[in-house]
């Protein structure tokens, strides 16, 4: 029996601003889940959404699957624990740019380094919205916000470049207004065995409206002859747009890089099922204590 969009809805009242890019991400995620379930590639009860804190985090309340609404910046570490506890789970971590690249940057880098089989989707609106508009790690230099009335003095971080050097094995960028493209990337990311990272460019209608900025600039890497197995080429494409401002001409979206590598949980568990309910005996080890 196939499931429909409304089966994944909850009774929680949606409180995102009208026009928010989060709607596109939510819709793409739901659609991706539905298709994966109906294509028999993923079981609904195996999906776990892990979220950070910020506007994006509310997605945990809006999609009717297992969820772990964590602390700000602390979504990725619990996701790793879940994967070790039960490697059959499909864990999708929804985080903001503040979560993934500010408060919890170390967890993002180390999860990529580990190549743990989880999917991290960054709602990259490049602004702290829920706290009423401050600059984030990916805001362009000169961003004017509550804490930087004269403009942000810092260059932005480029998360695609960061993931390329950190060891992630699936690295993509999406644009929340391109629903179908975003959904397809989510599906591929979830099915990828290894650490998958999707940076979703998401306009914040209230504090950083970038619809007009992204619209004419984005282009699809896969229609531009990019080979995602070529790491050097991926790095060159990542550097094509450095999360800057008006000077940028073209912004690549799509799959930058993909590789096959042993996953963290396979290396750590080497087949051991931790969900084993038997009580271990300690007497053999105790013999070495006499």
């Amino acid at each position: 029996m196939s499931i429909k969009l409304e089966d994944l809805s909850t009774y929680a009242k949606n409180t995102w601003c009208p026009g928010c890019g989060n709607f596109g991400i939510e819709r793409a995620a739901k659609q991706a889940f539905i298709e994966l379930i109906n294509e028999d590639k993923v079981k609904r009860e195996k999906i776990v959404m892990v979220t950070g804190i910020g506007c994006h985090g509310k997605i945990a309340d809006y999609i009717n699957v297992n969820s772990f609404y964590s602390l700000h910046g602390r979504a990725i570490a619990p996701a790793i624990g879940m994967k070790l506890a039960n490697p059959t789970l499909n864990i999708v971590v929804f985080v903001g740019d503040g979560d993934a690249l500010g408060e919890g940057l170390e967890h993002t880098v180390f999860a990529a380094k580990k190549n743990v089989d989880i999917t991290v989707i960054v709602h990259d609106n490049r602004v702290y919205a829920l706290t009423t508009g401050q600059f984030t790690p990916t805001s362009p230099k000169g961003f004017r916000g509550g804490s930087t009335p004269k403009g942000s003095p810092e260059e932005p971080l480029n998360p695609i470049e960061l993931m390329l050097v950190s060891g992630a094995t699936f690295i993509a960028r999406a644009y929340s207004a391109n629903l179908n493209h975003t959904k397809e990337l989510f599906k591929q990311a979830i099915l990828h065995k290894g650490f998958a990272f999707v940076d979703v460019l998401q306009p914040c209608y209230t504090f950083f409206d970038t619809y007009k900025y992204y619209g004419p600039r984005v282009y699809d890497l896969q229609q531009d002859g990019h080979n995602p197995l070529d790491w050097e080429a991926a790095l060159a494409r990542a550097k094509e747009w450095n999360y800057g401002g008006e000077e940028a001409k073209r912004i690549p979206i799509g799959l930058f890089f993909k590789a096959d590598k042993t996953t963290y949980e396979d290396a750590v568990l080497s087949g051991k099922d931790l969900y084993d309910k038997s009580t271990p005996r300690i007497n053999m080890v105790l013999r070495s204590h006499v």
Partner: protein, 557 residues
């Protein structure tokens, strides 16, 4: 007559002093003695001064004395720094190639160099000499060495025999009787005991970032992970450690983290998450002197109030502190079971002296079982935060068919959806309070306070953690009463008041500078007349305790 002996082994970091001390402890343990071995080492890799004091007695002991009978010196520092400790029956066994002293000098360096062995093998030569001095058969020390080393075993036994023979003019200098009829005992450190208890209670994932004095627990579980049926992993920092452990618990396996006070500081936000999202987690805090980096490799009991009050917001937690490896084994298991029964954080407070010292111990693994938590029956819609009489909601894990498990760090409704509704907010807070009450009722069925000495005494010594070992020994000797709360939050007032109602004088003894247990007792309305505090980074010794207690009792302080 109660025979007892103390041996000090000293040298610099890299000399393998701790291993040598462990071998001495093993030797006495195999002779039927109760052993306590204290390790004093500095926060460095090479050089400095490290020593172990091994005390062995026919009756149970859990603390060392300042005085010793035998010093085994690998360097001059050991003699110069510890000579004063020698009492009546005494001997220094030293490396005559680099140490000047009176006693039994043996060319330890020469002996190992002649055989092309590294300097660390000097320990084996001196252990051979020790066996001779104690009048023991060589085979005893041979077996100890054989069971302690992984490499170059035969070579080490050969140099041990050289040491044994070279000491022949001192053979039987001490007459060590074998203690007959005593039950074989295990040699366990607090770290090992905590690990063993948790393993028996179903621990499947241990996550830790290295930090003294909890690091040996990470090593022990990692080394034995296949036998114990678990995994021990090291993430990027303590924040990740507790996050990973909480994710694992959400997905249905028992997890634990271990750290020290500084690492626990980093975990505190997640402690609060455990309170709000109701995630079971066992946290071991290895106490060492603070604030900040403090004295990384030394002893303190300074995190009592921190562990009770840490975390933003109001939520239930259990805090308990074992005083020896036997208590550590059973409490660690009990705390893991309680964490799951009530879906709360449980903090095991363990001081340096317990974790890093070695004790003769008897434990019975059969006494520990996995107590299964209340699970969802599979009927109807699953609600992660279902309101129940005692505040505990049935558990389900992601992956279970028909269950949608929504865990939430925001205030939430029964299903786990975020809420800001005043009535639901109130109900959430009350659910957490109900769990506190349920925990207290559960603890009333358990051993929460231990007592020692003379229960009729009007002088009551109150202590916690490993300090109880020495305090109990002094109390037995002088006919005083001792109470040791194993559980510190909730404080078992129902039990403590039984022992304090008739006390004429209450003396609280602990290794910190502000009297944290004394303060916590007073907070609960108990009268504390005196405190004996030690905060120099070193544990209480028998000698020190006896003098201080005598003075306080006779009002001479």
């Amino acid at each position: 007559m109660n025979h007892e002996y103390s041996v000090l082994v000293g040298g610099q970091a890299g000399d393998g002093i701790r291993l040598a001390g462990y071998a001495v402890a093993k030797l006495f343990n195999r002779l039927g003695y109760w052993v306590f071995a204290y390790n004093d080492y500095q926060s460095l890799i090479r050089g400095g001064h490290n020593f172990s004091i091994i005390r062995a007695a026919e009756k149970r002991i859990e603390a060392h004395k300042e005085r010793v009978n035998i010093i085994i010196a690998m360097n001059q520092d050991t003699v110069d720094k510890h000579n004063w400790r020698l009492e009546n029956e005494k001997l220094i066994i030293f490396d005559s190639n680099n140490v000047k002293a009176d006693g039994l000098g043996l060319p330890l360096t020469e002996i190992v160099k002649n055989r092309g062995l590294p300097l660390i093998a000097r320990n084996s030569v001196s252990l051979g000499a020790l066996a001779s001095v104690l009048g023991l058969e060589f085979s005893l020390i041979e077996n100890v060495i054989r069971s302690s080393l992984r490499r170059s075993i035969d070579e080490n036994i050969a140099v041990a025999r050289e040491g044994y023979e070279a000491a022949s003019n001192h053979k039987g200098y001490f007459r060590i009787p074998v203690v007959h009829g005593s039950q074989p005992k295990l040699l366990l450190s607090g770290n090992e005991a905590v690990g063993l208890g948790a393993v028996r209670a179903g621990l499947k994932l241990y996550v830790a970032y290295p930090m003294t004095p909890s690091t040996p627990l990470l090593h022990y579980l990692a080394n034995n992970s296949d036998e114990f049926g678990l995994r021990a992993i090291q993430p990027e920092n303590e924040i990740a450690a507790i996050g990973i452990a909480q994710g694992a618990a959400y997905a249905g396996i028992r997890s634990m983290v271990g750290t020290s006070g500084g690492g626990f500081c980093l975990m505190v936000e997640h402690l609060s998450l455990a309170g709000q999202a109701e995630i079971p987690i066992l946290i071991m805090i290895g106490e060492r002197p603070g604030p900040a980096i403090g004295l990384p490799t030394y002893h303190a009991q300074g995190e009592l109030l921190f562990s009770i009050f840490a975390g933003h917001g109001e939520f239930p937690r259990i805090v308990a502190s074992p005083g020896d490896p036997e208590e550590a084994f059973y409490l660690s298991a009990e705390m893991l079971n309680l964490a799951w029964k009530f879906q709360v954080p449980a903090i095991l407070l363990a001081d340096y002296c317990l974790l890093e010292s070695t004790f003769s111990t008897i434990i019975d693994e059969e006494k520990v079982i996995i107590e299964n938590p209340k699970m969802w029956t599979g009927e109807g819609e699953y609600k992660r935060y279902l309101q129940t009489g005692n505040g505990v909601s049935p558990l389900a894990f992601p992956g279970m068919e028909k269950a949608i498990v929504k865990s939430n760090s925001y205030e939430h409704d029964e299903f786990g959806i975020t809420t800001e509704d005043p009535e639901l907010t109130k109900q959430g807070a009350e659910k957490r309070i109900k769990k506190s009450v349920a925990i207290e009722n559960e603890l009333k069925k358990k051993t929460t306070v231990k007592t020692y000495g003379n229960p009729m005494s009007q002088i009551v010594l109150i202590t916690w953690g490993s300090t109880k070992g020495g305090v109990a020994e002094i109390a037995e000797k002088h006919g005083l009463s001792v109470i040791q709360p194993l559980y510190l939050n909730p404080l078992p007032v129902w039990e403590i008041e039984k022992y304090l109602s008739k006390a004429e004088k209450t003396i609280c003894i602990e290794a910190n500078s502000t009297g944290q247990l004394a303060k916590w007792m007073k907070y609960h309305g108990f009268r504390i007349d005196e405190t004996i505090l030690k905060y120099d980074g070193r544990p209480f010794t028998i000698d020190y305790l006896e003098e201080k207690i005598k003075r306080v009792i006779s009002n001479e302080h």
